[in-house]
């Protein structure tokens, strides 16, 4: 009998050992699968970042002319800038000043650039080659020259060393983003222009300089080399102000009400289900809603950051509400009971105890929601924010575009070999903005975190 018990014991142990080996195999397989998933994910992210950085970083530097420009009085035939005389009315002065400005606009500033290039090349350029010469410097620079002169008329008769952006095609040529062995017919620049560009680069007249235009200029279609992100950046900034100003207070307060005060009944269940559903609605649908309500019915302006902000607010609200509710729910009920037991009202309980403890989670959720809104493109296309806007918006009601939309517009630009890099640079700017928002979220969570 006792042998049989011993045998049974042995048998039981062997059975367990056998099953143990199987269990270990399963655990190892699961661990390897998890590791594989993480490695795959990390690799893909690394590839994405490396490819964007490799393409985008060179675009932060741009081919730039460093030339002596002579403000030739024979070209700039302009009377002195008017000063307001004593006894002259403001109106009369404005009239005189705007006439002067018009005449300044009629000056052929391009001639100054042509002369400077001739000086740098050390040769006379025949009139028939003028076209090739003018392909070197981007067309926006003549207006920059005018603005500089209007600002400071004492430049007349002086020679100043100025930075001027090379045209987009010259930038492409010098950076080697086009095959130099292509036949003339398939090149973007004429043979003469290419020769000059190489010569000027050798002389050090054309250098690779940090591209401030990328940050200070708006989008441009006539002077591609000076197309920048300033307008899109301001548009995004205005939208974020609207989104943060509306969705965070609205979302957090509705979440507090639903979680802490609202009775649990059919109606609140329905509201909860609908909020969860709204979070899953494709963003482009919010764009349609915005187009029909804000623009079609309320007659708000097209392409305005205010409308974009309102649409993105609708899109972000469910995210913030869900994050806030989850955060409130994670606060132990004992804290609420403690406060209620001392005689705090429900509002006091929430605002003195629950909310401060839930704050890190609420902030994290809100910032992630806002970051998501910052990168959203689709709904903005439907409310006209993909328009070409060459002004920096001054108010949320001005026409504007947004960073992700600018990326979308640039990646569709026909001058591929210039705008591919420019697009990647814009993506880097957007990613940088998002990463700093996420870093802020992490910092805030660490700062307000309380342990209990």
């Amino acid at each position: 009998m006792s042998i049989s018990i011993e045998q049974r014991r042995q048998h039981r142990l062997m059975t367990i050992e056998k099953s143990l080996a199987k269990r270990h195999r399963k655990e190892n397989a699961f661990r390897r699968m998890g590791l594989l998933a993480v490695v795959t994910g990390m690799t893909l992210v690394a590839i994405l970042f490396i490819s964007i950085l490799m393409r985008g970083v060179p675009a932060f530097w741009q081919a730039t002319f460093y030339m002596d420009v002579y403000f030739d009085p024979e070209v700039v035939q302009l009377e002195p800038k008017p000063e307001r005389e004593s006894g002259e009315s403001q109106f009369a002065f404005n009239e005189r000043y705007s006439q002067w400005l018009t005449r300044a606009g009629l000056v052929n500033w391009q001639t100054l650039i042509d002369n400077a290039l001739e000086e740098a090349l050390g040769e006379e350029v025949e009139p028939r080659q003028l076209r090739d010469l003018r392909a070197l410097v981007t067309s926006g620079e003549r207006y920059a020259l005018r603005d500089r002169f209007v600002e400071d008329p004492s430049l007349l008769g002086q020679t100043v060393e100025l930075k001027m952006l090379a045209s987009a095609n010259v930038d492409v040529w010098i950076k080697g983003n086009i095959d130099r062995d292509l036949p003339d017919a398939r090149q973007q620049l004429s043979a003469q222009t290419r020769t000059w560009a190489d010569q000027l680069e050798e002389q050090g007249v054309i250098r690779n300089a940090f591209s401030t235009s990328l940050f200070l200029n708006t989008d441009s279609r006539s002077s591609l080399a000076s197309a920048g992100l300033a307008g899109a950046f301001m548009g995004s900034l205005f939208m974020m102000v609207v989104v943060i100003g509306l969705s965070v207070p609205l979302g957090v307060s509705s979440a507090i009400y639903l979680e802490e005060f609202a009775p649990k009944n059919r109606l609140t269940d329905l509201i909860e289900i609908n909020i969860n559903n709204l979070a899953a609605v494709p963003s482009i649908v919010f764009g349609l809603l915005g187009a029909s309500i804000f623009i079609g019915y309320l007659r708000l302006p097209l392409s305005a950051p205010l409308v974009g902000g309102l649409v993105l607010t609708l899109m972000t609200l469910p995210t913030i509400i869900i994050a806030t509710r989850a955060s409130l729910r994670s606060i132990p009920p004992s804290i609420r009971q403690a406060a209620l037991g001392i005689g705090a009202s429900r509002v006091q309980t929430v605002f003195h105890h629950v909310l401060p403890l839930a704050l890190p989670g609420i902030l994290t959720g809100s910032i992630l929601g806002v970051a998501q809104a910052l990168g959203e493109t689709a709904p903005l296309l439907l409310i006209g924010m993909n328009a070409f806007v060459a002004n920096v918006p001054g108010t949320p009601l001005d026409q504007s575009t947004a960073l992700p939309v600018q990326i979308y517009l640039w990646q569709g630009n026909e001058l591929r070999n210039f705008f591919e890099a420019r697009t990647s640079a814009a993506i880097i700017v957007l990613l940088g903005l998002m990463l700093s928002l996420n870093a802020l979220a992490i910092w805030l969570r660490k700062k307000f975190e309380t342990r209990w």
């Binding site: 209620l340 037991g341 705090a344 009202s345």
Partner: protein, 278 residues
């Protein structure tokens, strides 16, 4: 030593304080419950309870798990209001005033009837702020010095002052379990309630911390009415003047602690205290 040990499950520790407690005269009714019924949704948890609570007594509720003793305790300061599906019928008065009257301010009620919970639940704030929160909330202290006084005297009453006086700015959650529970008692005392409800205040504590809290209850009964729920019959025997036995939502029997433990009138009480069930 007039309590025979025989009906007690384990009696040796319980007898000491019994005699002294009985000698206190308590006859002024502080709270009164009439036909109190509690429902959670459709399920009835309390089936009509009538009970008087006398001023400055220590009243213990005992009974098996799920018998409704905690539920009834939480009716006494309307903590059940915070549970959505909970519904209370009947009448409970405090100093002859109905506490469930529509115009009754629940905040004032809870300032008069404080509560200490089963698990210590200090706020994740400093020791000082834990105590000062209630008085500040109710405007009991106008100046900082007054508040300091309240904090010190409350901590002294809870027997915690000597242990924490040098670290009032440290988090209350950093104290040991027993200290946290006494901090919660001090926090309740700081509001100067008339009645302190305690919902199994020692069930999460070790024996030494339990002994300290029991001693504290004994001292507090000089100036407060204390109603406590306990799972531990010896504890009821040690600290309570009167004991109420709950079973299946009914108040089976309430009498002096001696009487309940030596001469229970109801068979269920007898079975419970002799360990037949529960």
């Amino acid at each position: 030593m007039n309590i025979p040990a025989q009906p007690m499950a384990t009696s040796s520790v319980s007898v000491g304080s019994g005699e002294s407690r009985v000698s206190k005269a308590k006859d002024k009714v502080k709270m009164n419950a009439q036909d109190v019924k509690v429902f959670y949704g459709d399920a009835q948890a309390i089936n009509g309870i009538d009970l008087d609570i006398y001023e400055n007594e220590v009243l213990a509720f005992i009974g098996p798990s799920g018998c409704g003793k905690s539920t009834f305790l939480r009716c006494l300061n309307r903590m059940n209001d915070t549970i959505d599906i909970c519904r209370v019928e009947g009448k409970i008065t405090l100093d002859q005033n109905d506490i469930y009257a529509p115009d009754r301010d629940v905040v004032l009620l809870r300032a008069q009837v404080g509560i200490v919970f089963q698990k210590p639940n200090p706020f994740p704030k400093s020791i000082y702020e834990n105590i000062a929160y209630g008085p500040r909330l109710h405007g009991l202290a106008r100046r900082k010095a007054e508040l300091d006084d309240i904090v010190e005297s409350s901590l002294r009453r809870a027997g915690l002052w000597e242990e924490v006086k040098d670290r009032l700015d440290q988090p209350g959650t950093g104290l040991s379990g027993g200290q946290q529970q006494r901090l919660c008692i001090a926090r309740t005392v700081a509001v100067s309630p008339d009645i302190i409800l305690m919902d199994e205040p020692c069930s999460a504590l070790d024996p030494i911390a339990t002994a300290k809290v029991e001693q504290l209850i004994d001292e507090l009964s000089e100036s407060y009415t204390i109603v406590m729920v306990t799972h531990n019959m010896q504890q009821a025997a040690r600290v309570a003047d009167r004991t109420a036995f709950f079973h299946m939502g009914d108040l089976v029997e309430v009498d002096t602690t001696d009487q309940i433990f030596t001469n229970p009138q109801d068979q269920r009480t007898h079975d419970y205290i002799t360990g037949r069930f529960g």
